[in-house]
């Protein structure tokens, strides 16, 4: 079924915009904004707000209508198929099915100094109303912090006999960040221990297909909650244990 944006009534296709153009505010500024939106293919453009916010910039709020629609069923993504459980269910699941604590080691690797991602997922206080992995009684979580060399992460994972390794990386267009992620995989393969760990990568530009390309078992993007990661880890580690 095709759906359209809902403005005032169903299927009216009305969208609200807010944007800034680098022009000095003048009597014709409103028309500049209007014609810009028309160039994008919108019609019935109404400029609700057009204000100079600086001698050189004009800010707009506008409403406009689109004829475009989309069929949600036609959108094929690369979404991780994981049944998200609640905090207690995850712990019970691990206790029941695994019979021991699930061991997780996580870090932001190599030159990456961003701890926001790994902290949100692992630290006790958690993120967005969800406890971090450290809070789970059935998860033995170690957050090694940032700028951890791949070699150190691997050694720690081996020492703790970890089930899973979480890697957080802010991947920019510079190749270096991607290389750190593939370096860890090459290291695990060279050491012959790739199969021992569930490898998870997370970061603002990570998705599941990209995780596959890098050689990881799962990829989590922005707005991921610790609960999603915990649910995935519990199910995946149990699945693997069952197979062994």
């Amino acid at each position: 079924m095709i759906v359209r944006p809902y403005g005032d009534t169903r299927d009216d296709g009305v969208i609200q915009f807010s944007f800034t153009l680098p022009i000095t505010h003048s009597p014709k500024a409103a028309d500049v904004g209007k014609q810009f939106l028309e160039k994008l293919g919108f019609h019935d453009v109404a400029i609700a707000e057009c204000t100079g916010i600086d001698p050189r910039f004009t800010f707009y709020v506008a409403y406009a209508r689109t004829d475009q629609g989309i069929d949600p069923d036609e959108v094929k993504g690369d979404y991780l198929e994981v049944e998200v459980m609640d905090f207690y269910a995850v712990n019970d699941f691990i206790k029941e099915k695994l019979g021991r604590k699930l061991v997780v080691v996580g870090a932001a690797i190599e030159t990456d100094a961003h701890t926001v991602g790994i902290d949100a997922i692992m630290n006790m206080k958690g993120f967005a109303g969800h406890y971090g992995l450290e809070r789970y009684p059935q998860i033995d979580a170690l957050n090694m912090g940032s700028q951890v060399p791949c070699t150190q992460l691997l050694k720690t994972a081996l020492e703790r006999n970890a089930d899973a390794i979480l890697v957080s990386q802010v991947v920019t267009q510079r190749n270096i960040h991607v290389q750190h992620l593939t370096q860890l995989i090459e290291l695990l393969e060279a050491e012959g221990v790739r199969e021992r760990f569930v490898l998870v990568v997370g970061g603002p530009r990570i998705n599941n297909a990209f995780a596959k390309e890098l050689g990881y078992d799962a990829g989590f993007g922005p707005r991921t909650t610790p609960l999603e990661v915990a649910s995935f880890l519990a199910q995946e580690v149990v699945r693997r244990a069952g197979k062994a």
């Binding site: 070699t151 991607v178 370096q183 090459e186 393969e189 060279a190 998705n207 297909a209 596959k212 890098l214």
Partner: protein, 379 residues
């Protein structure tokens, strides 16, 4: 073998005679599982794989360690070449990729390999269409996937690499390698050449002599992470779970035992190379032997740390590097194809064949030793 017209993929067309020339090298080499590895994203791996499949009538098997054939690169936003396997090609990809690319394929077998994009399936390519190719995640799974493709009748398996990973070149997976380099490898042409040459040096590290190989038996090599062989010829396994981060310890042991040969079981990292070569006295006669070139997880230029100190670095299983392909593409502006090609041929042209399949440039070494591996004889 009939190598016909080049075919269109993405916005670029391969030059048919150049592809035929590259294909002949592969066909003559008796390599049955060819890994196409790139030094960087956008090095042209998929373009090479595509051109080989489309221009030559052989039943190919196709899989990828990474992810190929998606319209736009997730990271760089650049258009990627689409993959349109000729009818009859055996393709190993994931359920998720099939769904995403809406590719209809007769599925012959589902392999028990989980990936973030679902299980790996093997199928036979039908009529037209573009498919996203993403094989299994680990090298052990990749090896089985290659075997299954062969079992279903693939005469020549092509393994597209992943980003900059060397893994698929491992003798565990493939028996021949084509290396793809390109303008994105470095910021300057000099940097591109330096990294390319260093990577080729790394990939073509010489095989150990049978005499050296015989110093340690297979069981000990399989179980110990490091084995030092001293002047009296006795092998001494070092008590280590891994040599990672133990460069200093291993160097001291080598010194204490007065060893002339050191076998290393796992990965060789940059930290290890730096510590090891720093602690060892200069001009120490030593041979370091690793499993194969893919266990060297370090910047290729780091290999010179060993060679500069007179330490011979050798492998138990050499790789067969059949050719180098070059791609002048670079952001924001590509190199001039002929200038880029000539610069790389000048640097490596005497060692192995070099091709630019899109711009129709080829250089074959004078020796034309195309059926033999470019492995230097053991000293």
């Amino acid at each position: 073998m009939t190598c016909g017209q080049g075919t269109a993929f993405g916005e670029r067309t391969a030059d048919a005679p150049t592809v035929a020339s590259l294909y002949r090298i592969i066909a003559d080499s008796d390599v049955r599982a060819l890994a196409v590895i790139g030094l960087v994203k956008n090095a042209g791996k998929t373009t090479v794989v595509n051109s080989l499949m489309s221009a030559c009538a052989r039943v190919f098997g196709l899989t990828s360690l990474g992810l190929d054939g998606e319209r736009v690169d997730h990271l760089t936003g650049l258009a990627k070449p689409s993959v349109a396997p000729p009818p009859g090609t055996l393709v190993a990809t994931t359920r998720g990729s099939l769904e995403r690319s809406r590719y209809a394929m007769e599925v012959l077998e589902e392999l028990p390999f989980h990936t973030p994009l679902g299980n790996v399936v093997i199928g036979r390519a039908g009529e037209d269409g573009h498919v996203e190719v993403s094989g299994p995640t680990t090298l052990a799974e990749l090896r089985v996937t290659v075997q299954r493709l062969q079992a279903h009748g693939a005469e020549q398996v092509l393994v597209d690499g992943a980003i900059n990973r060397l893994g698929s070149a491992s003798p565990r997976v493939s028996d021949g390698v084509v290396v793809a380099t390109g303008g994105m490898v470095g910021d300057t042409l000099d940097e591109v050449i330096q990294t390319t040459v260093a990577t080729l040096d790394l990939l073509t590290l010489p095989e150990v002599s049978p005499a050296t190989r015989g110093l340690v038996d297979d069981d000990m090599l399989a179980s110990a992470r490091a084995v030092a062989v001293d002047g009296c010829g006795g092998p001494a396994p070092l008590r280590l779970d891994t040599v990672i981060g133990e460069g200093v310890t291993v160097a001291r042991e080598v010194e204490r035992l007065d060893a002339h040969t050191l076998f290393i079981g796992g990965a060789l990292t940059r930290d290890f190379a730096e510590d090891f070569t720093r602690v060892l006295p200069p001009r120490r006669k030593l041979r370091v032997v690793v499993r194969d070139a893919t266990v060297l997880v370090l910047p290729p230029t780091t290999v010179s740390l060993f060679t500069r100190r007179g330490i011979a670095l050798e492998v138990l299983q050499p790789l067969r590097v059949l050719a180098l392909t070059v791609n002048p593409f670079r952001v924001p502006q590509p190199y001039h194809p002929k200038v880029f090609f000539k610069a790389l041929v000048d640097a490596v042209g005497s060692r192995l064949p070099v091709f630019d399949v899109v711009n129709g440039l080829a250089s074959l070494p004078e020796s034309r030793a195309r059926a033999t591996a470019p492995i230097p004889p053991d000293a």
